[in-house]
């Protein structure tokens, strides 16, 4: 299998603080990989190590078939897109002028500006000065800036944190479309819904260790007690194990007309995280 990101036994320390511990993970082409973890778990450190901004302490990393010493070359930088947690725009310049700079740095035709602004739904605002934009609009401009050179691999460090749900949905939509066109995405988030809705594979990162890693649905099923919970009109709660043999019992219940609500007890990713690490994601 051809991996876009291939990490083996990666560790990274800042002095005495070990931020990443013995991480091994592979991201195949076309995946949306999500690092889910609370503040301080090592998400930014992981991304910066992959983008060549930080040097690893030990282990091996290969990104887009390049070794660590090639990660600071213009060749690598031209192939990736990075939206960091503290990215910013030139506030006094217009959206257009901000993107124009990026086009020239990446040797991209200026015609791409309209195409990308269309995509992030900002085409009518292109002459607006950045300082006059809302937070969500700025984030979409930054996303446009990250995408304009059509990177093979996209690194997004908490791309939607502190945005309202409407803007989060817009950004997710853009990322899904992009992924369908073949871009591999590596993102970090502390938001379980983002990880569940967007990612094909999620790594639960806590204290610099990937505790578990799988498709979000699989992570949830694995930690499910695998039961149906049936709430009846008279307030009774009936638990039925989710097995083919029990289908008769379920049919009977439904036929009896007693069923008020019925649901599986699959945990959310947040609950899985809490169960695995003993730590709440929200903090």
């Amino acid at each position: 299998m051809d991996y876009v990101i291939n990490i083996n036994n990666l560790s990274k320390s800042y002095g005495n603080t070990q931020a990443l511990k013995d991480i091994t993970l592979q991201v195949p082409k076309g995946q949306i990989f999500g690092l889910l973890g609370p503040s301080g778990s090592g998400k930014t450190t992981m991304i910066k190590t992959l983008t060549g901004e930080l040097k690893k302490t030990s282990g091996e990393i290969q990104v887009l078939n390049m070794d660590e010493d090639q990660l600071s070359t213009p060749n690598y930088k031209a192939k990736i897109g990075v939206l960091s947690d503290n990215s910013a725009l030139y506030e006094r310049l217009s959206i257009y002028d901000n993107l124009k700079l990026t086009c020239k740095l990446y040797d991209v035709s200026l015609n791409e500006i309209d195409t990308i602004l269309e995509k992030v739904n900002l085409i009518d605002d292109k002459k607006k000065v950045v300082s006059k934009l809302s937070k969500g609009m700025k984030q979409r401009v930054m996303l446009a800036r990250t995408l304009i050179h059509k990177p093979d691999l996209l690194f997004l460090d908490e791309p939607t944190s502190a945005l309202d749900p409407g803007n989060v949905d817009k950004i997710h939509q853009i990322l899904r479309e992009l992924n369908e066109e073949g871009t591999t995405i590596f993102l970090s988030t502390h938001n379980m819904e983002e990880a569940t809705n967007l990612c094909n594979c999620v790594g639960l990162l806590y204290k610099g260790i990937i505790q578990e890693m799988d498709h979000p649905d699989n992570l949830r099923y694995q930690h499910s007690t695998n039961q149906f919970e049936v709430e009846t009109h008279d307030g009774e709660l009936i638990k039925i194990e989710n097995k083919p043999e029990n289908s008769g019992q379920i049919e009977q219940l439904i036929a009896s007309g007693r069923v008020k609500r019925m649901y599986t007890d699959d945990p959310t990713l947040g609950e899985v995280f809490l169960k695995v690490t003993g730590k709440d994601l929200g903090s």
């Binding site: 983008t51 901004e53 213009p74 060749n75 930088k77 031209a78 990075v82 960091s84 503290n86 990215s87 910013a88 725009l89 030139y90 506030e91 006094r92 310049l93 002028d97 124009k100 700079l101 990026t102 020239k104 740095l105 990446y106 040797d107 800036r145």
Partner: protein, 230 residues
């Protein structure tokens, strides 16, 4: 170094320059002063006033402009995005230096036209001005990399303007020849330029070259320090 990327940075920064009120006033000050001096002294303008204006342009426009541009990119975190692009650090520095050069030369020319003092510019003074431009650019880069914030930059610029920019003024104090204050201020770059104009000699240019080397080492030191901070 990649010319296309250097020009991209230059284009962005020059546009930004004219939208940044704290930068745009810097060339205005020496030009207004030139107009004022020209009105004040109708036939003979003392040499030191001309060189104070030149010093103000170098300190207030050249150094300050590049310092603010560097410090702002760091403080606002736009530098990181630039560094993640295919542009190299050298592309970024050179692009910004070009802005400082264009603004310095325009301000100098406008001031000189208003002062109407073309006679002070002999060959030595012209070559010396080029060296001075280099010195103040390197000084600005050094401090811009060194400064932690835009606010810190406005503190650092004060001694630069007063010591390096206003050094020709110390002739006014009428201290006796050979007084240590005079010796020190005569050895500062803008004073050396004034001597080159006054005496038409080459010695000041050699001394200015030493200043350029010192500024280069300072910029290099700041660069290394800045790199290790991350």
């Amino acid at each position: 170094m990649n010319t296309k990327r250097v020009l991209a940075i230059f284009e962005k920064d020059i546009k930004d320059f004219f939208k940044n009120t704290s930068l745009i006033i810097m060339p205005v000050v020496p030009i207004l002063l030139a107009v004022f001096y020209n009105a004040l002294f109708d036939d003979f303008i003392p040499l030191f006033t001309i060189f104070i204006i030149i010093g103000m342009v170098f300190a207030g426009v050249t150094s300050y402009c590049i310092m603010i541009m560097m410090a702002e990119e760091k403080e606002k975190n736009t530098l990181r995005t630039l560094m993640m692009s295919p542009a190299s650090f050298l592309d970024i520095i050179v692009g910004k230096s070009l802005v400082a050069i264009v603004m310095t030369i325009s301000t100098l020319l406008i001031s000189i036209v208003f002062l109407d003092v073309y006679h002070v510019f002999n060959l030595q003074t012209i070559l010396g001005s080029i060296l001075l431009l280099l010195f103040f650019i390197l000084l600005g880069i050094g401090i811009g990399l060194f400064a932690k914030s835009i606010a810190a930059t406005s503190v650092y610029i004060m001694p630069i303007i007063f010591i390096f920019g206003f050094s020709p003024m110390f002739d006014l104090f009428g201290l006796e020849e050979g007084h240590f204050v005079n010796v020190i201020f005569d050895a500062l770059p803008v004073s050396l330029l004034m001597q080159a104009s006054d005496e038409g000699s080459w010695m000041p240019l050699i001394l200015i070259t030493i200043w350029v080397v010192v500024a280069y080492l300072f910029a290099l030191f700041s660069y290394q320090k800045n790199k290790n901070d991350d």
